[in-house]
Amino acid sequence: MTEKSVEHSLIEAKHFTINLIGNPNVGKSTLFNALTHLRQHTGNWAGKTVQLTSGFYQFGGNYYHLVDLPGTYSLSSISPEEKITCKALCQKTADCTIVVCDATMLERNFNLLLQTLEITNKVVLCINLLDEAEKKQITIDLPAIANALAIPVIGISARNKKGLTELLQAIESICLEQLTPHPPVLCYSAKTEKNITQLQNQLAQKLSSAHSLRWLALQLLSSDKNNRMALCQEWQISDDSLAELINVEQAQTKAISEEITAARLSRADDLCHHSIVYHDQQYHHRDRQLDKILISPLTGIPIMLLFLTIIFWLTITGANYPSSWLSCHLFAFGDKLFAFLINTNLPPKISEALIFGIYRVLAWVVSVMLPPMAIFFPLFTLLEDFGYLPRIAFNLDHCFHKACTCGKQSLTMCIDFIILYIIKLQNSLKFCFQI
């Protein structure tokens, strides 16, 4: 590109902000990394990305700022992750929101999608793990979903980087306002709708129109006193004005909350019913049979111990071979380096310090630490991909619950164990080499 055309494209280039949301574990981080070419670590646990990660990518001459919001099942509850995600969406600062769904669990995932559509219309639905769905012989009628919701629906497989171009194009067309989705509004009972409209009109006088007033009205109507206070603080509505805003009673609040949740779930069921075909009814059955073995009270724990023993054994014994190979070569190289340094004009004291002090320690650390890590972490990732980690958590939850934590903790412990082992190794090495 000539200098002139670079300058030209910089002037023309627009900057857009994109929100990335989805249930936990739908491949959101994987997609984020694929789009931004970053290598943020991906993991299996909900709430892993509590602080926001963001990155840039370029497409069609424009710049996109991608914000990876915390994974949540819903926007209406009150966990910290949900608050962050909800707030980011409600402020409507993004030009487009990508909702990532797991193709094999759309029934569960659509709840978040429908809630998002109640906040903003600039949504691209991104159905990930299509390869996984294909394996399970699930066919998803993407055009049917797109039709029903009037938003772009793109099927991708983030890990294999399939469908990303189509996704980027859909985002572009929304950002450039070539396409303005008009998703159908999810309607509730006449009585609730009346309450919503009333509250919405009142809120319009207090808040700038940039906010999603219908959503806020829904939230206020369906939350209890404490949550209402929290919402008011967040949206800077004074308590006094709220008292006059809301004239529904506590008992009614519960009914409204239940009605809203039920309406969303039944809409999600509807969508799935018309767009998903399960060709292999037995697949689910086989999955369950496998679970009967992996998480049953009788065999679950022995199998888990077996798996972990194999992994630790491979890590501890297996690492010896590459370790000794590495140290052998690194030390041989150190000797050569020493011989070389002695021949130069460097004072011998300095060469000794360099080789025996710095180089050897580094060589030890590398040859001891690298092999166990290079064996353990890929194996652990394999278990994660196989979906075994949640099952370990299930097996162990009771024991850990007694200790006032949860089963997820067991996995952190596995990693801790390996790190402890590596530290111990280092100490024993110190002894061997007598430093």
């Binding site: 099942y73 819903s74 209406s76 509850s77 009150i78 966990s79 669990m105 759309l106 029934e107 569960r108 709840n111 519960k254 909350s257 239940e258 949740t261 039920a262 779930l265 069921d269 799935c272 998903i276 399960y278 009814q281 689910h284 369950r288 679970d291 009967k292 998480i295 049953s296 009270p297 679950g300 724990i301 949640p390 299930f394 097996n395 939850d397 009771h398 024991c399 619950h401 089963g407």
Partner: protein, 83 residues
């Protein structure tokens, strides 16, 4: 009866979720609402937590959370999970 008393492999329909349930909103968002059908899949070692099948996916709940959910068992075996 409450959800934790549902025997393995049997289906039930959810009647109510107690107001006091700490996870009420989350449970509702995951599909635990009145009228929803749920199957008990597996109890863990020591009987807690318990895995349930609801709305096309598997969820594990602790016994203490299940006690807030009342259900009526369905007698008919549902072979077709996705109808």
């Amino acid at each position: 009866m409450t959800l934790d008393q549902l025997s393995i492999d049997s289906w039930a329909e959810i009647q109510t979720i107690n107001e006091q349930a700490p996870l009420k909103k989350r449970l509702q968002d995951l599909g635990f609402v009145c009228g929803a059908k749920v199957q008990c899949l597996q109890k863990s070692f020591a009987g807690d937590p318990i895995a349930y099948f609801i709305r096309g996916s598997v969820i594990a709940l602790r016994q203490e959370d299940c006690r807030y959910i009342t259900v009526t068992p369905l007698t008919k075996e549902r072979d077709n999970h996705h109808d």
